[in-house]
Structure formats: C-alpha cells, structure tokens
Symmetry: C2
Subunit: 146 residues, 2 copies
Amino acid sequence: MTSSNPIVDALDAAGYRLTGPRRAVADLIAGYDGHFTAAELEAAAREHRVGVSRATLFRALELLTELHVVERLDLPGGEHAYVPCVRAHHHHLVCSRCGRVAEVEDCGLAEIVAEIARRSGYRIESHRLELFGLCRHCQAKAAPGA
Amino acid sequence: MTSSNPIVDALDAAGYRLTGPRRAVADLIAGYDGHFTAAELEAAAREHRVGVSRATLFRALELLTELHVVERLDLPGGEHAYVPCVRAHHHHLVCSRCGRVAEVEDCGLAEIVAEIARRSGYRIESHRLELFGLCRHCQAKAAPGA
DNA sequence: CTGACTATTGAGACCTGATCTCGACAAGCA
DNA sequence: TGCTTGTCGAGATCAGGTCTCAATAGTCAG
Ligand SMILES: [Zn+2]
Ligand SMILES: [Zn+2]
Ligand SMILES: [Zn+2]
Ligand SMILES: [Zn+2]
C-alpha cells in the first residue's frame, strides 16, 4: 500500500512538498485515535527510528493545524494536546481517562451562539466548545460493580 | 475605604492568610474588566511598586483559580489569559480586539450537552465554551463607514 | 501585648513547550 | 541532470510556569 494517508494528501493538495519528515509525522499522527502531546509524538518518532527534529515536528504540527487536519486541544489541567481531525467545523468530546476523542457536530449550538450574540451585542466570530468526560469503555472500568 | 475587594474576601472566607502580596495581586486583578496575562500582571505590579515575586504571583493566580474568582482562558492564538470572574458556572465572550470579556450563562447549552451525551455514550463531566468576536465598541471602530 | 507556630514569601534554578536562526540539504521541475 | 527554493537540523533562545529552601510575617493562644 502506498500509504493513502489523508494527512499526506492534505499536504500535497495544499502544494507543500512531501518530504520524509512530513510523511513520518503524518504516519505517526494517523496512528492515533485519541489525542497526543508533542512530547509523545517526539518519543514515538524516536522509537520508530524516524529522524525528525523537534523544530520540524512543531513546524509540521503548526502546518497541519493550519490545514485543519490536526487541532489543538486545551485539556482541563492546562496541558496542550493535538488531535487528528476532519476539516469541517466541529467539537471534541475527550475521555479524561483514556484520551479517546469523539467528534461532535454543532447540533443546535449555532442557535445558542446567535442568541448570545443578540443579547450581548457582540459580533461573534468563532467559538470553541470542549467536552470532557468518560467514554463508554472507561465508564465500565470505573464502575464495575454498579 | 477598606478595599472591600471581593477577591480578598474570597481568600479570607476560604481561610487563607491575608498577606501583603495577596492583597496587592487581588487589587491589581480587580482593576481589570477584560482579560490579562500573567506577564501583564507582573508588569503592572512592578509599575505600581508593589513587590510580588513571580513565584508568588503564579501561586496567587493558582489559588484564585481554585477559588473560582479568576478563570484561565485559552485564547485562539494559543496564549493563556486570566479573567476576574464570578463563582457560578458560566462562559466567556471575549472581544478579540480589546480583550473585554462578557460573562454568558448557559442559556440552553445544558440541553445540548445532554443530547451529546445521549448520542455518544460518554458520561460528560464538564465542558468549556469560549466565544470570540468583537464587542459593540470595537465593531463601531472597525466599520466606521458601514 | 508577646511569643510561637506555621503558612507564605522571594530569589533563583529549573523545566516544558515552543519558536527562531542559519547554513546544509533535497523535492520538484525543466 | 542540474537548478531553484522550500524544508531541515542543531542548538540557542524565549515564554510560561514550577520547585526548593531559607527567611519572613500572619494569626492566635496565653
Ligand atoms: Zn476533530
Ligand atoms: Zn476512555
Ligand atoms: Zn467569568
Ligand atoms: Zn472590544
């Protein structure tokens, strides 16, 4: 298989060069279905013997964030994490135990935002909703007897 | 006037010592009605000739955040800012030009969150909604001819 | 009011996360 | 194949924040 990595595709479509480090980072990221930190990604790169310098890794994250194939999360504790992502506007539901992330569409939030704009007089340009909780799997593990 | 600073009151009510540095930080924070960064607060302290070390300043911010009289915001650009705050659960509407912050109550969000929980199977424990836009004042300045 | 007890402070080392600089390198194209 | 120029790596540097530990100062019992 010639990778068929959507992250690589996005890079290509946007006209960026498909370099070794970028492919490596894209492949590593595609392997996550929860969030990951820059440090974890760095460790994973080292473990897989792919040479990616710190600077390049952050450059790749920045680039992918601009292309909306990765998004940066602010966890409740204040840490930053990244999440592989679809391009459309949506929000994230993060399991605070295992880090698994579910994508959530707006489902009615837009109306609320409009109402807030009306009441406050602000012109609202963007919003961010982050939800934290326990995924089904972690609920089961957390309350085995209940 | 004996200050009557609600931040100081909160500290007192929670049983913390009312020290000089803490009062100074509380007074500085009470002076903001928009958000401020730790660096700005540090500069303000220096300017007002109140001696508060960096460590103490951050310790105070942490403490006040725990007491819910200050909240930490994650701005779209990734910077962290702090906002003087009321204790009840609510969200922030931030002017991306002048930094002015309006408090927004849930107004229907709880239902949406419940719906998301139902669909996803996650048990949602907390959420964070941040809204960014232009306040009325900055709208006027931004589009004077329109 | 005084002294003691302990929370709090300050100075500075340190840490993590991220950005910048700049010469070397290589992807993409003719 | 050979250029052109985008990208890379190494390491300095920065920002935001935490930690250590001896010194200081609230608070309160006496
Ligand atoms: Zn997403
Ligand atoms: Zn989970
Ligand atoms: Zn608030
Ligand atoms: Zn404004």
